[in-house]
């Protein structure tokens, strides 16, 4: 006896796994060749369209590519996180659906698509429906200024860093809205915790960004990378090792704040399952729940990408330059986020706020003042 799977099922699973792995490979190749592709498309557009229309089309294509990336990335990240979690706990993780479970996220997504879309009685229907979109919007809009390569950015804003701080705060509104509209005490508690957390952790983030901007002299993310154009060594090296240890501390604080703002462990009290069932998305099901999930993983990638741009030279890499390097470095930081999640226990609410107000903010101020002093002394 035993659990014998039909041969046709195994064949389908193998073929689909091969397709998915090949797709991931193709994805990496596309990212590696992104500068060439963009150049090709740009010349084609400029040859065939008027100047205004070419600009509009280029932005539209950029937006499409970015949205495609952010919607596909969580499929990989969720599988990756489950594998990392499993192996840290000496388990195997998803193994059944496809080769080493590579199709697991697709199966889960398909399941969520077919789930009934339940809106609980007594819920504020309009806000309940609106909330997931606001959360997703907050996470996705930040990608607009994330530079992937030399000139490869959807919107080359001069106030890029300020824009990112501002737009990611939308997530807090969405989460608070979801908690309020659910008509559920756990959801409301989760939403309120999230608001307190996000508002608190914006402050050290902003101070750290201020310290960095005082070294760069610009809020434009491309300028931040240009200031680190020498790679690991040299005069204009990565900010991580400059003004040792001020920028190193700055990176650590920024990373911790990033964890808190994306509601990741050990700061995931808005959705602390042992206390609040599932926090703000307790009442959500089906695709709306999937949107929250999507937003969380997109926000993880955004925060890691920002940290890479600010402290690890963005697409200026240790081995080669380009979008692929940026992608890899960001994935390494995302891995560190997952690694931390399966290492540290969850903080209590008062501990969470104490970490921010008693430790991160004073240290961030010291870093800011120290950066200013060192900068003045050097010049």
């Amino acid at each position: 006896m035993g659990l014998q799977r039909p041969a046709i099922e195994a064949t389908i699973s193998n073929v689909l796994s091969a397709v998915v792995i090949a797709g991931a490979g193709g994805f990496l190749v596309a990212i590696a060749l992104l500068p060439r592709i963009a150049e090709l498309i740009n010349t084609q557009l400029e040859a065939n369209l008027s100047e205004t229309m070419a600009g509009v089309a280029a932005v539209a294509l950029g937006v499409g590519a970015t949205v495609f990336l952010i919607t596909q990335l969580p499929i990989f990240l969720i599988w990756f996180e489950r594998k990392v979690a499993a192996h840290i706990q000496d388990r195997l993780g998803p193994m059944r659906v496809g080769w080493h479970g590579v199709l697991q996220s697709f199966a889960d997504g398909l399941k969520l698509l077919f789930k009934e879309d339940i809106i609980v009685g007594g819920a504020d229907r309009f806000l309940f429906k609106l909330a997931p979109f606001i959360v997703v919007m907050g996470a996705f809009a930040g990608f607009a200024v994330l530079p992937w390569g030399d000139g490869l950015v959807v919107s080359d804003l001069d106030i890029g860093l300020l824009y990112v701080i501002a737009i990611t705060s939308f997530g807090a509104i969405g989460i608070l809205m979801a908690g309020w509209a659910s008509n559920n005490k756990y959801a409301l508690l989760g939403g309120m915790r999230s608001a307190a957390q996000m508002v608190s952790y914006e402050i050290p983030t902003a101070i750290i960004i201020l310290a960095l901007v005082s070294q760069v002299g610009s809020l434009n993310l491309q300028d931040v990378i240009t200031a680190q154009s020498d790679g690991i060594w040299g005069e204009n090296r990565w900010f991580l090792t400059r003004m040792f240890p001020l920028n190193l501390i700055a990176f650590v604080i920024f990373f911790i704040c990033g964890l808190a703002e994306t509601n990741r462990n050990p700061f995931d009290i808005p959705e602390a399952e042992s206390e609040l069932v599932a926090g703000f998305h307790t009442e959500y099901s089906g695709m709306r729940f999937a949107l929250f999930f999507l937003a969380e993983y997109a926000a993880m990638f955004l925060v890691a990408g920002l940290a890479v741009v600010m402290f690890f030279g963005g697409w200026v890499g240790p081995f080669f330059d380009g979008p692929l390097m940026f992608f890899f470095k960001t994935l390494v930081l995302v891995f560190v986020q997952m690694w931390l999640r399966w290492t540290l226990p969850r903080l209590r609410v008062d501990q969470l706020l104490a970490v921010c107000w008693k430790y991160l903010i004073p240290i961030a101020f010291v870093v800011l003042v120290g950066t200013a002093f060192v900068g003045v002394a050097w010049s």
Binding site: G2, L3, H87, I88, D90, R91, L92, L340, W342, T343
Partner: protein, 185 residues
């Protein structure tokens, strides 16, 4: 002030230590393994021997019951031992005229077991029926995959002998028909 920086140092030290521990576990051998895998994960499982399928179970694992009905002498000790009464045995006397048969250990089988039913949906896998059996004919096998779609499928019928049809009430002149023993099919 001293406490403040002491706390900071404690956080850095403990988080670093914890992260090293979890990172090392990323590359250690997994304790769990795939459900239907043939791989032996650990030395301690290897003592199980060849009766264990897939080499995964301990040698004292208690799974589905099996009855070697050829060895059963119909003593009903297992039926009495069963705490949940999931065993149901009916015996008939063997005719003196039949050739004597013996169990594997030489015990003469004097009864004909016409019903030996075990309801595995009731069984609590306590193994109490296994110990009293004089001929070791009821055993716990390591077979653990026996899910069914219907609850009645869990009633395992081990008896091979057919019960004697009830004797029709006194047919006057005719000779009583000899019950035909259905041999092991």
């Amino acid at each position: 002030m001293k406490e403040y920086f002491g706390d900071l140092w404690a956080v850095i030290a403990t988080v670093t230590k914890g992260m090293i521990v979890t990172f090392s576990h990323l590359f250690t051998r997994n304790i769990t393994q795939q459900y239907t895998s043939d791989e032996l994960p650990d030395e301690r499982w290897k003592s199980a021997g060849e009766i264990v399928p897939k080499g995964l179970l301990s040698d004292r694992s208690r799974m589905r019951l099996h009855v070697k009905i050829e060895d059963c002498i119909g003593c009903k000790q297992c039926e009495k031992a069963c705490p949940v009464d999931c065993i149901d045995i009916t015996n008939e006397k063997r005719e003196k005229t039949e050739a004597p048969i013996f169990a594997a250990d030489g015990t003469a089988i004097k009864l004909k077991v016409v019903q030996f039913d075990i309801d595995m949906s009731l069984c609590c896998y306590c193994s109490l029926c296994v110990y009293p059996c004089p001929t070791d004919c009821i055993v716990m096998t390591p077979e653990y995959e026996f899910a069914e779609t219907d609850k009645t499928e869990f009633l395992y019928r081990f008896a091979k002998e057919k019960p004697t049809p009830p004797v029709p009430p006194a047919p006057p002149q005719e000779e009583k028909p000899q019950p035909v023993a259905a041999g092991g099919s």
